[in-house]
Symmetry: C2
Subunit: 303 residues, 2 copies
Amino acid sequence: MEIKKLEELLKIKTEKKMRLAVVACHDEEVLGAVVEAEKLGIAEPILIGDKKKTDLIAKEKGIDISNYELIDEEDLNMSAEIGVKMVSTGKANFIMKGLVDTSILLKAVLNKEWGLRTDSLLSHVMIYDIPSYSKLIYLTDGGMNLQPSLEDKVKIIENAVTVVKSLGKEEVKVACLAAKEKVDPKMTATVDADELKNKYIKGDFSKGTIVDGPMALDLAVSKSSAEIKGYKSSVAGDADVLLVPNIEMGNGIGKSITYFADGKSAGIVMGAKAPIVLVSRADDHEAKLYSIALGSAVAAFKE
Amino acid sequence: MEIKKLEELLKIKTEKKMRLAVVACHDEEVLGAVVEAEKLGIAEPILIGDKKKTDLIAKEKGIDISNYELIDEEDLNMSAEIGVKMVSTGKANFIMKGLVDTSILLKAVLNKEWGLRTDSLLSHVMIYDIPSYSKLIYLTDGGMNLQPSLEDKVKIIENAVTVVKSLGKEEVKVACLAAKEKVDPKMTATVDADELKNKYIKGDFSKGTIVDGPMALDLAVSKSSAEIKGYKSSVAGDADVLLVPNIEMGNGIGKSITYFADGKSAGIVMGAKAPIVLVSRADDHEAKLYSIALGSAVAAFKE
């Protein structure tokens, strides 16, 4: 079943309940979100963190955590290591960042001995549900990769395509964004987009993926804009994935959607053996829940 | 009087009527827009272009151009030269691109002998009127400068500040955007934003300008997001000007506003002796009129 609205994420029933390792769980917001996710049947949390602090938060906030496994570990690096090892040994299916720096968690994820490395690249995928747009938009990468190379972009696209497919869509249209449609050697975004399109034509991308570009955002999401500019493409006006050439463009589009267009969102880090849920303090409660549900859906798809 | 909505642009009465040199006027949409602008009392067009084609368009579309000066010139380079010289000799106050490549018009504008060069840099300023945001947003530069240097950014900010002041605002808040708030040597956008802030503190910007950054878009336009992240700044949540570090971010934010947030817009090129109106085919009729009215207001302010 294809997910067309983010709220449908909360209703996905994975075949097995996915187990979520929560690294540094002693955070009020994170604890609240994972417990609610469990109650909604989205995931089964395994809490890793400072037990004293966690118990105190649970008591103060009236959150019942008595039914969950809680591994007492004050040290943040050790918490990350325990969480990552749980995933690599199959005890957990995905992982979530609690009150710990992203860099500590990712260092553990990328550990060469016991981490979750793959041949891919870690990349961030945001899903936006925009009242004024007819389908979900998958934006990548406005969070991790500053100015990805052509090879990086191939991996970033594949990571995003996996997310789209996890939510039930079999044909995935990828728009490689730039500031214009003409290939201009002074604008790497346009040159790379053209190369990515050529790679698609050669059959380099996974099945069901259609890649086109360079195109500016208007062509990716508006059929009438594409018509006016005479831009013919099956991706134009109907993009699922928006690949951005730099983190600033991704961040700018994403935040425009949230702050100007009242969009809802969910986010996930892809490219490791299991999806990684990284929520921001500025995310509202709903966004945190959506991200956990997204992680669960992707983890189940990868099983 | 401060303009707070784009529609108010159409009601500005400049002391003298500003004269608009229209380069390559033989274009249906451009002709329609300048004639309507004249009828609304916004500007007085001087048409330069292919007279035969222009007359034919006027006849077919029922546009009465009998009262306007029309200089017959088929050659596009010559049309641009005539238009630019009209401005440099004071016969026109601003200039608009018709059916001619932007590069031809700008080459004439930048001509060292008779062009409209200044010590500044040509830069593009878009104004957005967003239903969900309480004030006008001035976005620069999502159209001309690919990846401006620090010195370029100073000029780009000053150009935008002139536009804001032309519309009656005396205090201008400038947010130097990046993907995050922390200065990171790997991200030029953050380093430059920090430098621009320091230049502001040293008093390098024109009177009434406040510059802050680096900040991501959410902090620039949302007070609550700034509070959650503990970011203290008089610009945060109240930015007039959004300075972007690269053309992709500017283009992405601008088009997100237009296509996802139903924003209206007007655009202008600054940095020459007179404002330059460049409209895109994809702009609707209203956007073209707003841009002409904006050009007129800026031209009157510069007088």
